[in-house]
């Protein structure tokens, strides 16, 4: 049995000394971290001075592939210059984010002239996932297209961060053609990654969607969802049938996205399809359907909407009233009649809808 008297006094003192020793070490480590931060700050300040000068040259086009700039001592590829070179890469990335055209290309030249690619490549070659991911990020931000082949092999990497960066890199290098990785993707893509890829594509002219039907039939549900988003944003009406088929998908998230995509396709049949889908759906997806119907409902869904208006769920009542009022001929009169027949809750719903319409 563990009890105080079983512990020799000397053991307690020994542990006290041990704790105190560790505490002193931790205090020294804290001081060292503070000192390192100060040193880093000073290094960064010095490097920033070079950058202030270079930035002006970049904008004036005085730095290009033929430039012969003198690399400052503290930016040379030496182990003790690691901090300064890291800072330089960050500065170049941040500068490039805010520039376009020739100035942006000049930033890449400066990256090459400072021989920073080797640092990025070393990171990419690391066995640690976070260094590998960071290396990929730097390489695609600096448009090192020749690294595309090696990076492309990691689009299905087991680590989510490495594959996310590799996928983004492929799109950065190849635009819409880079989406081909979707065909072989077995690992999931979370919503953050999908958002990142969509933003990456946002700046480009819409391109090749040949793989879309295949991606919509993928065994990887996140690929199907992403493909549905692509079809939605880029109005790929040629995959309408595949999208409708997704309404029968076993994954409710896929069905939810299919509903949203069909709504944005906005054809005449969308309203009927959604109304048919409604009774079979989860509560969450029913909400998505009603939100979608606000954009596509016609008088053909009048019967369906009158049924949902009479539902027991106040949220469904309100949304149905909103759709009827906005999409059906004489919609507001329908709600007004309902409010007259059954003031509670429809009178307040009518006022709510009217209030929304004037705002």
């Amino acid at each position: 049995m563990l009890e105080p008297s079983t512990i020799p006094e000397a053991t307690l003192y020994a542990y006290t000394v041990l704790f105190t020793a560790i505490m002193i070490i931790v205090l020294f480590m804290t001081a060292a971290v503070l000192r390192r931060r100060r040193k880093r700050y000073q290094t960064e300040k010095r490097v920033q001075e070079y950058f202030d000068q270079w930035l002006g040259d970049l904008l004036l086009g005085e730095i290009n592939e033929n430039s012969d700039i003198e690399i400052p001592e503290e930016l040379l590829d030496r182990p003790h210059n690691r901090l300064a070179r890291e800072f330089a890469i960050n500065q170049l990335i941040n500068t490039k984010k805010n520039l376009i055209g020739q100035a942006s290309r000049n930033v890449i030249q400066l990256y090459r002239l400072l021989e920073l690619r080797k640092t990025s490549w070393d990171k990419f070659s690391s066995r640690f996932w976070y260094r590998k991911a960071r290396g990929i990020y730097e390489l695609y931000m600096m448009e090192q297209r020749d690294a595309g082949g090696a990076i492309g092999k990691h689009t299905d990497h087991r680590n989510a961060y490495v594959r996310a960066e590799a996928q983004t890199a492929l799109l950065a290098f190849e635009g819409f053609d880079g989406l081909r990785f979707l065909g072989g993707l077995t690992q999931p893509m979370n919503n953050w990654q999908q958002l990142k890829l969509l933003e990456q594509l946002h700046a480009l002219d819409p391109g090749n969607f040949e793989g879309l039907p295949q991606w919509l039939g993928s065994a990887n549900d996140s690929v199907v969802i992403f493909a549905l988003k692509l079809a939605d944003i880029y109005q790929q009406l040629q995959v309408r049938e595949e999208t409708i088929r997704c309404l029968r998908h076993p994954n409710s998230h896929v069905r939810e996205q299919a509903v949203k995509t069909l709504v944005h396709f906005g054809d005449e049949e969308a309203g009927n399809l959604l109304a048919e889908q409604y009774p079979t759906e989860t509560e969450h997806n029913r909400k998505a359907i009603l939100e979608g119907l606000e954009q596509v409902a016609t008088d053909a869904q009048r019967g369906f909407l009158e049924t949902t208006l009479a539902s027991d769920d106040p949220a469904v009542q309100l949304q149905s009233a909103r759709i009827i009022s906005r999409c059906l001929k004489g919609g507001e009169a329908i709600i007004a009649a309902k409010a007259l027949a059954q003031p509670e809750p429809y009178r307040q719903i009518l006022l709510h809808i009217q209030s929304e319409s004037v705002r």
């Binding site: 563990l2 704790f19 205090l27 999908q194 969509l198 933003e199 309100l318 209030s355």
Partner: protein, 478 residues
């Protein structure tokens, strides 16, 4: 009789000893897990460009819920600060919980609010909503102000949930200062969910006393000048950077601070929203949501963000601090009592096997056990039963471990987010840690014991939390 007394003393002494040993082991496990979780978080987000999320049409929609009661002095500035947060798909719902001051009128005047007809869906039963206000001013179109009958913070938040139109809710204290990118960072874990549904995400709360605040924005961080506030700054670093990060890694987090937490609205509604019968409504909601997900057999997780995103004013007097800790103790007792079914119940996995027992033993019972230990010590000392050599050996052992834990927390702070940049401030923090076992800790234990008294007296009081306000001079006798 003597044998009985000996047995009793033996059991008490051994019990407290075993308790202490378990606590020390827990702290070591927490420290290790916290380091791993924080390091992983920093690596994961090193190159994250949160700007993507700020304006993306694909970002999830978020409603901030800010309950306010008698906040007339600061409400207009606080709302302005919240309206300027970086996030496009945002709605700000300010709930005036029957304030007796002019909070509502100030909001109406400042933001050109107009009363609108609003159908309130009382999915969660609450006190009556008197009116809903919106504005036609395009700069404030994210703002919704709700005026309701007073019902307490939990009731006000439930009204906010009922009114909110977006998918995620971020519950905050109206008098907190949020960093401009706070919502972006809080929302990201929800987007990163994989097989496990993210039901809630917590953020670190930091102490804003003595910090410089301009136009509702924190412009410069300082360590609090006031002793009580400074001790809380240390305590918060320890609790948030070590404790909650470690529990997040172990997937056993039971508490997301009411001052700043994000939730999946649908799950929160299905669970019935905040419980109005407890003063620990923040912890109670998280426990209930977790319990619900377990009972539905849906894989889930609760995440935590170590970035300093929310700044709050800490009590600067013993009286107010006592009220706060008294309430926290009652809230913990009430929550654990409501959910006693979880305790060591295999159906709830780690929640029942580790999180609940930890909170029961080392959070809820801690003030009682420590107080009992002190009483036993006095008793033994009075009857001359103390082996003083052993006593001092144990005392310096446990005090040195406590110091080590605090110093480690300070190191983690410096290594990660380094909010207190001057060496002098770190030194002051270390010195504050040295006084903790003799001044601050006994005080907090006593406040906890009083919480027990009040719990058994069935007190539901929040206790008035007088605040000085940001950027105001400190009272001389504070």
């Amino acid at each position: 009789m003597k044998i009985l007394a000996d047995i009793l003393v033996y059991l008490l002494v051994t019990g407290i000893f075993v308790y202490s040993v378990t606590l020390i082991i827990s702290y070591i496990v927490i420290g290790i897990n916290s380091v791993n979780e924080t390091r992983e978080y920093l690596h994961k987000n090193e190159a994250t460009d949160y700007r993507l999320l700020a304006a993306s049409p694909h970002a999830p929609t978020v409603s901030i819920l800010a309950p306010a009661y008698n906040e007339g002095a600061t409400i207009v500035d606080n709302v302005r600060s919240l309206l300027s947060l970086y996030y496009n798909k945002l709605e700000l719902v300010v709930i005036n919980d029957g304030s007796k001051d002019d909070s509502l009128q100030k909001l109406i005047d400042a933001y050109q609010l107009e009363k609108v007809d609003f159908f309130v869906n009382y999915r969660i039963p609450t006190k009556e909503v008197k009116a809903v206000y919106k504005t036609k001013h395009p700069a404030y179109n994210k703002l919704v102000v709700v005026d309701k009958v007073n019902g307490g913070k939990a009731d006000a938040l439930n009204v906010g949930i009922n009114i909110a139109t977006n998918d995620y809710i971020v519950c905050i204290d109206a008098d907190c200062i949020l960093e401009h990118d706070a919502i972006l960072k809080m929302v990201k874990p929800f987007l990163e969910e994989g097989e496990k549904k993210v039901i809630a995400s917590g953020g670190v709360i930091r102490i804003a006393n003595s910090c410089e605040v301009t136009n509702g924005r924190l412009t410069r961080v300082h360590l609090p000048d006031n002793y009580w506030a400074r001790m809380q700054a240390l305590e918060y670093i320890r609790a948030f950077l070590l404790g909650r990060m470690a529990w997040a890694r172990l997937d056993g987090l039971l508490l997301i601070s009411g001052a700043f937490g994000a939730f999946d609205k649908e799950i929160a509604i299905r669970c019935g929203g905040y419980n109005t019968n407890t003063v620990g409504e923040d912890m109670e909601l998280v426990v209930r949501m977790r319990r619900y997900m377990h009972e539905q057999d849906v894989p889930y997780k609760v995440t935590y963000i170590p970035d300093p995103l929310c700044w709050t004013e800490a009590p600067e007097t013993g009286t107010i601090l006592t009220r706060q800790r008294n309430r926290w103790t009652r809230g913990t007792i009430e929550t654990l009592r409501f959910h006693k079914k979880i305790f060591l119940n295999p159906r709830y996995d780690l929640l029942g096997a580790l999180s609940y027992p930890y909170w029961l033993l080392f959070e809820m019972l801690a003030p009682l056990i420590e107080f009992a230990g002190f009483v036993v010590f006095l008793f033994l000392a009075f009857f001359g039963l103390i082996n003083w050599h052993m006593f001092f050996a144990f005392l310096i052992f446990i005090v040195s471990f406590g110091y080590l834990n605090s110093v480690f927390a300070i190191y983690m702070e410096v290594y990660t987010f380094n909010q207190y940049r001057r060496r002098k401030e770190i030194l002051k923090l270390v010195l504050a840690a040295l006084t903790e076992p003799f001044i601050f800790h006994p005080f907090v234990v006593w406040a906890g014991v009083r919480g027990y008294f009040d719990f058994f007296r069935k007190s539901k009081s929040w206790g008035e939390m007088t605040r000085r306000g940001f950027g105001k001079p400190q009272p001389k006798n504070g």
